[in-house]
């Protein structure tokens, strides 16, 4: 027979439950208030404001280069600021630096793990960062000497307790922002490997992140398996805005070039645009015929076009203002897993599970 609870503990338990119930009521009230405040500002739709804007003409975009060399699925890629070099990473454990003009491989590193899910080019063009199932983010300085073993100079910077899903240098080679399957994002000092700030708030794996474009803004946005997109203050570690309208994992987030909005791509087969100053979703880019998830999104330089890479092997090009699809591009023979527009906007690059990367213009 179980002994009855000590009266003191019983009272404590009752108090605990009362406090919890009170806090739940408070958070529910706040959530309702937030929805009401956001709804008040919903006086018009984006496409209505854009009615007078000229419609876009026909687009002819083709594959201009195909980069072959990876032995397995391409998972991530990033452009160098010089607008011609590209770093890509693959399930085969390799990280390759390419000259996109000539399609030549300039460097190759073999990582100790497979599934290198994230890679990024340093702003100086002198290093690349990468990581994945090893739960780390490592930085490799790129040597001018092609014969030099890059792996020898490797520097381990970030340590998470689950896979690395994305990484990005901040304004310099000195700091890296990471997101992880452990549900957190983190800011690291490259030289010392020290954790500068951590960002807690996602309830599940964080899959993607993007840094705000302005050099003065100190914010970034992240998306995760909890269907939320969170905007963070890099200095305080605080989540300052949160959006939860997607119906499934958010695989990709990208800021609008002005920094006042961001787009997201999700397994729910839609891309969405969130306006940061109105604090709400202002557009959904979807079609009944599109039923496969979006893996990655990026804007053209002016923000008028949104490119989405999909799991049905295609790229859909959307008119951001009018909400309509302007083009659908075919070419890859498996899922498009990563997509980035070049720094000068002359082309965009896609990476795919078909082992290749393609440059489109």
């Amino acid at each position: 027979m179980r002994s009855p609870p000590i009266p003191e503990m019983a009272t404590q338990e009752v108090q605990l439950n009362e406090t919890l119930a009170h806090l739940k009521t408070e958070s529910d009230t706040l959530k309702t208030k937030l929805e009401e405040e956001r709804a008040k500002l919903h006086d018009v739709e984006l496409h209505q404001v854009a009615e007078k804007v000229e419609a876009l003409g026909q687009f002819v975009m083709k594959t201009r280069r195909t980069l072959k060399g990876h032995g397995n699925k391409v998972l991530c890629m990033d452009w160098c600021k010089d607008k011609r070099r590209i770093v890509s990473s693959s399930q085969d454990g390799k990280v390759i630096v390419w000259d996109a003009f000539t399609t030549n491989k300039e460097h190759a590193v073999t990582m100790p793990c497979t599934w290198v899910m994230a890679c990024a080019y340093a702003p100086s063009g002198c290093a690349v960062a990468c990581g994945g199932l090893d739960n780390k983010c490592s930085v490799y300085p790129l040597s001018l000497d092609k014969n030099e073993n890059l792996a020898a100079k490797k520097k381990s910077v970030a340590m998470h307790t689950n896979y690395l899903s994305a990484c990005c240098f901040t304004n310099s080679d000195m700091q890296i922002l990471t997101s992880s399957g452990d549900g957190t994002c983190a800011l690291w000092d490259v030289e010392s490997g020290q954790l500068l700030q951590s960002f807690h708030g996602h309830a599940a794996d964080v899959l993607c992140l993007d840094l705000a474009p302005s050099e003065t803004a100190n914010t970034f946005v992240s998306g995760g398996c909890d269907k939320k997109a969170n905007v963070w203050d890099m200095r305080s570690g605080q989540c300052i805005q949160s959006f939860e309208t997607h119906e499934s994992d958010i695989n990709s987030v990208r800021y609008y070039p002005s920094g006042d909005a961001f787009a997201s791509g999700s397994d729910d087969a839609t891309c969405r645009l969130y306006d940061l100053r109105a604090d709400r979703e202002v557009a959904i880019y979807s079609k009944e015929s599109i039923i496969f998830g979006v893996s990655s999104v990026d804007f053209s330089l002016s923000g008028r076009l949104l490119f989405g890479g999909y799991n049905d092997y295609t790229i859909n090009v959307w008119d951001v203002l009018k909400g309509t699809r302007v083009s659908i591009l075919f070419g890859h023979e498996n899922r498009v897993s990563t997509l980035r527009v070049s720094p000068d906007g002359t082309a965009f690059c896609t990476g795919s599970w078909d082992h290749t990367l393609r440059i489109w213009a």
């Binding site: 404590q12 018009v44 280069r65 011609r84 609008y256 709400r280 000068d344 965009f348 213009a361």
Partner: protein
Amino acid sequence: MSGKMCSGSNSIIQAQKLVDQLQIEAGMERFKISLTAADLVQYCQEHRRSDPLLTGISASSNPFKDKKTCVLL
């Protein structure tokens, strides 16, 4: 303290964090979509001429597009 009490106080800490977070978000200054969307449109319009993928720049200025070779007859 029993295990139940420990997890109870953890739940309270988490619930309090959620309330604090929501209070921060509720206190934010927001603007009407008619105003903010107009800014998004304006940005697009102002930068449309310098967007190569939008305007479709010619092969001679796009390094990725192959230039057609000249044939001397």
